[in-house]
Amino acid sequence: MRVSLRWLQEYVPVNLPVEELAHLLTMAGIEVAQVIHVGDFWQHTFVGKIVEIKRHPNADRLQLVTVDYGQPEQPTLVTGATNIAEGDVVPVALLGAVLNDAYSETPQRIELKPVVLRGIKSEGMVCSARELGLGEDHEGILILDPSAPVGTPLQDYLGDTILELDLKPNRSDCLSMINVAREVAALTGERLRQPATHRLDTPTLPTVRVDIKEPELCARYAAGVVIEVTVGPSPRWMQDRLEAAGMRPINNIVDITNYVMLEFGQPLHAFDYDTVADGNIIVRRARLGERLTTLDGEKRDLTASMLVIADPNGPIALAGVMGGLDTEVTSETTRILLEAASFSPTSIRRTRQALALPSEASKRFEQGVPPELAPLARDRAIELIAEIAGGRARSHAADSYVRPQQRPEIEFSAEDISRLLGMDIPLTVAAEKLRPLGFSYRRQNDRLHVAVPLHRQDVSCAADLVEEVARTVGYDNIPTTMPAGPLPEARPAPLRVWTDRAKQTMVGAGFAEVITYSLTNSARMARLLPKGVAPELPAGPARDVAEAVLPLHAAPLELKNPFTSEASTLRTVSLAGLLETLAANLRRQPHDVRLFEIAPVFLPEQSKLPEERRLLTAVLGESRTEQWGARAVNTFYTAKGVVDQIMWRFGIAAYHFAPVQHPTFHPYRAATVTARQGRTDQVVGIVGEINAEVSAAYDIDQRVLALVLNLGALVDLARETPQFAPPSRHPAVVQDLAIVLDAEVPAERVVREVRDAGGDLLESVELFDVYQGPQVPDGKRSLAYTLTFRAPDRTLNDNEVNKIRDRIIFKLQVSLQATLR
């Protein structure tokens, strides 16, 4: 809502700086988004009268205009405009004036300098609305009202201040100048002046018959009639006000309906009476198959959910949304049927949504227009029509009020205020705050019975009245305290706690946290599979991985109303988004990109909300910045080390890796992560190198390592508190052991055998070398371990250690056919 300060002052005196007024309104819940000073840049610009127009001697398209602006000298201006005549009153900008550049796309100011046009010196300009910042119109010169005072600085005559209100849905009553004025009056202590309306009653006018078939959708329909009107432009002052409010002037009848709507907040519609069959207005639902050509020239198919205004021949308007073309007021119109009605907000809202037809009228109806307003606005408009467009009128031609609204009385007490605000306000003070807002009340002992004014449909309970009191007292005056009372018992939140710990671990491991869109589409997720590979996997480890952390086979939840097809589906997998993000980063910087995210994927469930499974996903490119002393590339083992680190942080010791062939991953460079819970093994994730075909689909031209872990499952397995074991005071015996065995034998198997044979005294087994090459037979490899032996209670002697070592070697020879190197 754009509120012209000039117009507003017709209803309430404003005796404070506009910035202060804007602040007061904003603090009280009527947010002033912007204060626009119209014409604040007009200097050397006056109201002028055209005394003479001559042809430019050297140019057919230019004219020489001599103007009177109240000074002895009468400057001559060169103009290309053609809409002017001698005697017209126009804005005249003299040298030094600042105007908007009408030919610039972006707002730009230019200062008027002396200019010679085809040999004639121009001493200024006559201006268009656009040049003055008054509108978009640059078709011709802005013609002012003939009564405009010649010689007055234009700023004094046309300058204005616009308060642009950003109204919340509850305060749609302020889509009315009068109601804004009421707020201003209440906040500044001034008196509200409402326009007085009179009913006109010419007895011999044609009649209007109103039949409301849908009382639920139309509570009231009032109509007035004016005959012998002359349709033409409305007076300049009215056009100015409509333009200040952001509306386009059309003709006097339409302008008056808009003007009164802006004044009262009641949308009105004018029909050409002669096009309404039998003068009979029928308010009913549209019938299937009915069509209506609306004012914008569009043929619209109607449905039974839409409320229409019809005459006996069929629909003539979409109730509260838009009028019909056939019953439009035109320059030929002489008889007017004016509608002031109250429609159901829901019905208007649905019709507006179905036809995508927002209008100033529907905006107001959707927020609810009180039925009491209809006759008041109608009477005001009829009076204005008779005054401006001439003719004879009957204000009260019809008024069908089929569903009278009850205005509830609200009871409240000082205790309500004190309890909600934490501040004591005497009931008498509260009552005095409510009165200028239009509330009336009676007091009964310690309670106030408050009648809500008709325009405040948002007020329906004691809390609403407390807000009215609070906002007029000023929120700033409410004290500041801290909540007393007992603190509720703490609730455990293991998922959140462990999520934080996992994030810290990943950050420590060198990964940057990303937050990717949880909305994607099926094609984007399917890029995780090489072309031609079906998402359904046969039973086995790969299928287990899919079920746990990569459910590409699950049908995702789709959005009904996506904003873009790129983000139309709730993701079931997280890896796709991470690879997209990795690819984008690698394009800019090919080295050292390590990313992780902890976020849910959404797995649909039958008639329930989807399971939101929280996954930890990490990706990294193999490439590292070349730097002396640092490793050349990241490998599978880099990613695997990260899994170990997470497991260590979670206190999970019973887990292992096993090879897996999942289509998203390199068939020989990926492993399931399996944790033991009780006696069962559970796949909790996957780590590996991404299949080159898949990374190529993301335009990544280096090897990519990835890991996906089911964080929720890890939380279930996590051990909150580490258990202390005293460090041994006795020295360790450290020995190296190098063996040669089939390259196929997994290293984990070797360690298991070593540990089995080593028993309790074998403290640790650390791999320090892996060798495969000319020094060992074909198909074999050498593994070298550092074995640390230690007893908790004594110093081990060599003899003891050698015995264990022999046992280990024997075990390796027997079970794995290993030989000592």
């Binding site: 501040m423 500041t480 959005l559 984008a584």
Partner: protein
């Protein structure tokens, strides 16, 4: 030793000998020379010892004085030797260290630590403040029912206030009691779920991802993070709300921050308010960041609407509460001076690495 040697002669010889020894010592540079010197002056057949043998020719009463002097010289030379040896060792060490010289201007070994996303950093900070004020962190689902996201929050179907949230709906059969499935437009449904499950008093904050079906631009994202808070008890008041949020603003933006509450509207609170803080860039003077108003709007809040309390079977005559909600990215933008919300989902490491 010739007869007639006097004490003075011996003393003079001693002094000369000491000078000679000291001079030689000063020239020494290696261990072997020092040993030679030690043998020559301090050894059993060294020069000082030999000189002392001449003591026998001195009168008895002079012997102690000259003997004492000789011992002193011997002691001084031994000390000088020790000092000289230490100096030589130091020189040798210095030479060895010099051969180990490093170019200290070469780069340090990078410690490869990652970083949390700025949204997480600020979210942690926000939650930290409220946890210190006794609020507990709770989470809820991102895919919700209409019932929790709207209906129980005093936003019935076709309520004009629904236009305040552009909602994504999910392709799923609506149920009779829960309505349509949708992506939550705020974390308020978490509050409803908490109140449904627990009797008052309640004091929680609910962080999480929320969704709005709207075009993205510098200040709007379709997905962002919110933190909402809720406190319900007997006599919880708007003054308490002001207290908690003022403490929050001071904690997050500094003690000097001024906090402003103005009347506003959210269907689930009444009275409702918006909170602005004095612009920390211009300190309220007006600048580009605050659009020359001196104030930055940071959150919405109010007293829980009686209809919401009734919906969860809390007696509004006995209990009252306050609720507040803020956009995490918005707070992060203000804190870090980020001018476009789309950076948060760009996940450009050059952006991410700026925060710690």
């Amino acid at each position: 030793m010739a007869d007639g040697t006097t004490a003075a002669d011996i003393v003079a010889q001693l002094e000369a000998l000491e000078r000679e020894a000291q001079d030689k010592l000063a020239e020494f540079t290696s261990d072997s020379d020092v040993n030679e010197w030690r043998t020559a002056y301090l050894g059993r057949s060294g020069k000082v010892t030999q000189l002392l043998r001449g003591l026998g020719g001195l009168p008895k009463e002079e012997r102690p004085r000259v003997g004492q002097l000789a011992n002193t010289v011997k002691g001084r030379l031994a000390e000088a030797l020790e000092a000289r040896q230490a100096a030589i060792q130091r020189d040798q060490l210095a030479g060895a260290l010099q051969s180990e010289a490093l170019d200290v201007t070469l780069p340090g070994e990078p410690v490869r630590v990652g970083q949390l996303h700025p949204t997480s950093l600020v979210l942690n900070e926000i939650l930290g403040v409220f946890e210190r004020l006794g609020f507990q962190v709770v989470e809820g689902p991102e895919v919700e029912w209409d019932r929790y996201n709207f209906a129980m929050l005093n936003i019935p179907a076709d309520h004009p206030a629904r236009d305040m949230w552009d909602t994504f709906y999910v392709e799923a059969e609506p149920t009779k009691s829960f309505g349509s499935m949708l992506l939550r437009t705020h974390t308020s449904p978490v509050q409803v779920r908490v109140m449904e499950d627990t009797p008052p008093p309640v004091r929680v904050v609910a962080p999480g991802r929320v969704y709005r079906n709207e075009a993205t631009d510098a200040s709007h994202e379709a997905i962002f993070y919110q933190v909402e808070g809720l406190a319900v008890d007997e006599r919880t008041s708007m003054a308490d709300l002001k207290g908690v949020l003022t403490a929050f603003a001071h904690d997050l933006f500094g003690e000097k921050t001024r906090v402003r509450f103005n009347c506003s509207y959210f269907p689930f609170v009444e009275p409702g308010a918006e909170v602005s803080i004095s612009c920390h860039v211009c300190d309220g003077g007006g600048c580009r960041v605050c659009k020359h108003t001196g104030w930055l709007e940071i959150l919405g809040c109010g007293m829980v609407h009686p209809s919401v309390l009734e919906a969860v079977n809390y007696d509004p005559a006995r209990y009252s509460g306050f609720a507040f909600g803020m956009g995490v990215e918005r707070i992060a933008m203000l804190k870090y001076g980020i001018d476009d919300i789309r950076y948060f989902y760009s996940n450009d490491v050059r952006f991410l690495q700026q925060f710690r």
